[in-house]
Symmetry: C2
Subunit: 393 residues, 2 copies
């Protein structure tokens, strides 16, 4: 087991009706003026925004609104939010939505407390030194952004999708009502489920490390999602299935599941970020389209690990004489599962075909113009990335 | 899944040599003068206290020392610590030891910030309103007190063992170096392992609730302890086995494992507290001596739950036609495991025999003179408790 630090101070309030505690929780954090940040019109139409506004009003909290966050949230709206918050003296940001809204809120939080342009943090030109406090009312089980120290923003100038991680941005609280996910379209539910699984798998397939409890908890979480995602798709108002997915989403990305090993592989995430920056695909669907090609490219690097996944997560039977067969069976089994929830297992199934030139461009961008490698399970250079994009197209 | 809140802000720093960060972590918490609280002479003789003192000195932190904490920590020493801290203007308590030392530190922390006698909190006469900040350098994998909101203190006046739980007492940080547990006697290692398992099992055997991810994580943790405890006993310096036990101990008692269900059954803990108050047994060994008798007394209340435990934790084969057989097989299997690590499965194996009068007294005390019932898996009254003590003797 490798040395690690673990600290997730985010207060989780989980269950029916918890969004109505928003005002009180912001007061408890010392917030005085709130940016209510959200996505499209569904939060408005469903009455959710109204309930939250009444909660803020009951707590005596003034607020301003900024909607319009889109999947793969944009730098332009972040900059607009920063200007608005500075003008209105906002000191607390309440994100109402899924990971895109929370990520956008985190970026605005960065911008409020720094004098330089916020993109400098995402392009790694400058290190952040703080962030305005964030709270979240979660409406989508997927990214785990409600408890994570991560944010990913897309810069429309070049369609660069970049992360800006630090402990400063971890939300102070997350209000998690599974009922708020009942109305999600099936595709978004499934894409979110895959995202949850991938946050776990990126931590599971890493450089070798003895971390048995962490392994077993990863396996527990993956099996829970595999069991409950089809239930939620068949019956969108199954509270327990929605609740399992929502809780799994938070635990998958709060660093609990890499305790005692390195911080994860993240190759598929980094490649998907390029794809998502160029084509605007749903994040989980993009991961689903790439993972099998990544797995077949790297599995021989540690066959035992893929066999463990096959047996402990996908319930395959271990072929002791030929564990590589079990490893491949596990990869097939999860692709079968992805298909069963209408998620793609190649890029064509995302709805478009990559040209050779696009693959070259994606790999070049993901390798930061040839200056970085990615991955810890197996280190990948620009050529490896191009090979995986090619296998996945 | 039932509604729940979850917030564990304790900062975990885990790995080799982390005790040397004590001074810096206390500074980060704003501590200015420290009570260094510990147990017997082993921390002194091993050089651990010296290393920590150098860390405090390097951080410019003055400190006073108070040793002498014993298992089932005593109220008299807590009162001595409170007087010392008030006299010396101590504002931070660093516990160096296992659960007893940390529990004692929490009680002292309560005492510093309240004007009334600290036992009033444990006897439920008064509710706590705060606690001085606590940090821990852990030397024993067992109670999970390093991340928990629990403390248990024994009042020598009547030998009453009582808990005084609140969020105020959760440690600010826990420095966890598995190497510090290498020198534990085998009996303490095993007793600690059982305690970790029982913190999980008290949360697993509760009133019915759909909480699949929580169930699976409980099972993951129990299997990890069952795998690693024998390894640590066979080779006390196996770093990974010691690390798995230490991390499992923290996760078992930080409320992660009752997310979405009620807060646990705790019958065995409450009965063992009376036993420990009267006879001063090692906590885990006391739990081990009682659990099987409790399980056989209550299992018919929810056979499916005990069958799930048997199959998913103890690797029994489910007898679909007679699941009660599987349930009983699981109880036998864990008793076999307890015996394999030299833990008792009845009170005689603890080294003494209970008289009828003692059983009556234990049950009467545990039922708060007949005024309370215990348990959530099955509610137990004073007569039930006496029956279980009788079966266990």
């Amino acid at each position: 087991m490798t040395n690690f630090s673990y600290c997730v101070p985010t207060k989780i309030v989980f269950g029916k009706g918890v969004e109505e505690q928003a005002g009180q929780e912001i007061l408890a954090c010392g917030g005085k003026k709130v940016l209510l940040h959200y996505g499209g019109g569904s939060a408005e139409r469903s009455g959710l925004l109204g309930r939250i506004e009444r909660s803020l009003e009951a707590a005596g909290l003034p607020y301003v609104r900024l909607g319009g966050v889109v999947p793969n949230p944009r730098l332009s709206l972040v900059r607009e939010g920063i200007a608005l918050c500075k003008q209105e003296n906002v000191d607390f940001i309440l994100a109402v939505g899924g990971g895109s809204v929370i990520d956008s809120a985190k970026a605005i939080g960065y911008g409020i407390v720094h004098d330089f342009d916020v993109w400098d943090i995402f392009s790694k030109k400058r290190a952040p030194t703080g962030c305005a406090p964030i709270g979240a009312v979660l409406t989508l089980s997927a990214t785990g952004s409600e408890t994570s120290a991560s944010t990913v923003i897309t810069n429309e100038d070049g369609w660069l999708k970049r992360s800006g991680n630090s402990e400063y941005i971890r939300p102070r609280f997350a209000l998690m009502n599974p009922e708020l996910t009942y109305t999600l379209p099936p595709y978004q539910t499934a894409s979110g489920g895959v995202d949850i699984m991938m946050h776990t798998m990126e931590r599971y397939f890493t450089a070798p490390a003895d971390a048995e409890l962490t392994d077993r908890m990863c396996e527990a979480l993956l099996k829970t999602v595999i069991h409950n995602l089809p239930i939620a798709l068949a019956n969108p108002e199954d509270y327990n299935a929605r609740a399992e997915l929502m809780w799994a989403g938070s635990l998958s990305h709060c660093d609990l599941l890499n305790a005692g090993r390195d911080r994860g592989d993240w190759s598929c995430h980094q490649m998907e970020h390029e794809l998502g920056g160029m084509f605007d695909v749903a994040h989980g669907a993009g991961l689903s389209a790439i993972w099998g090609s990544w797995a077949r490219y790297v599995y021989q690097h540690n066959i035992g690990r893929f066999a463990q996944f096959a047996v402990n997560v996908m319930d395959c039977t271990l072929d002791f004489a030929h564990p590589e067969r079990t490893a491949l069976e596990g990869i097939c089994a999860i692709e079968t599962f992805f298909h069963s929830v209408n998620m793609p297992t190649n890029i064509k199934e995302l709805g478009f075909t990559l040209t050779d030139a696009q693959i070259t461009e994606l790999a070049h961008k993901c390798a930061f113009d040839g200056t970085r490698t990615i991955g810890s399970f197996q280190t990948l250079n620009e050529q490896d990335m191009a090979a995986i994009f090619t296998a996945a197209r």
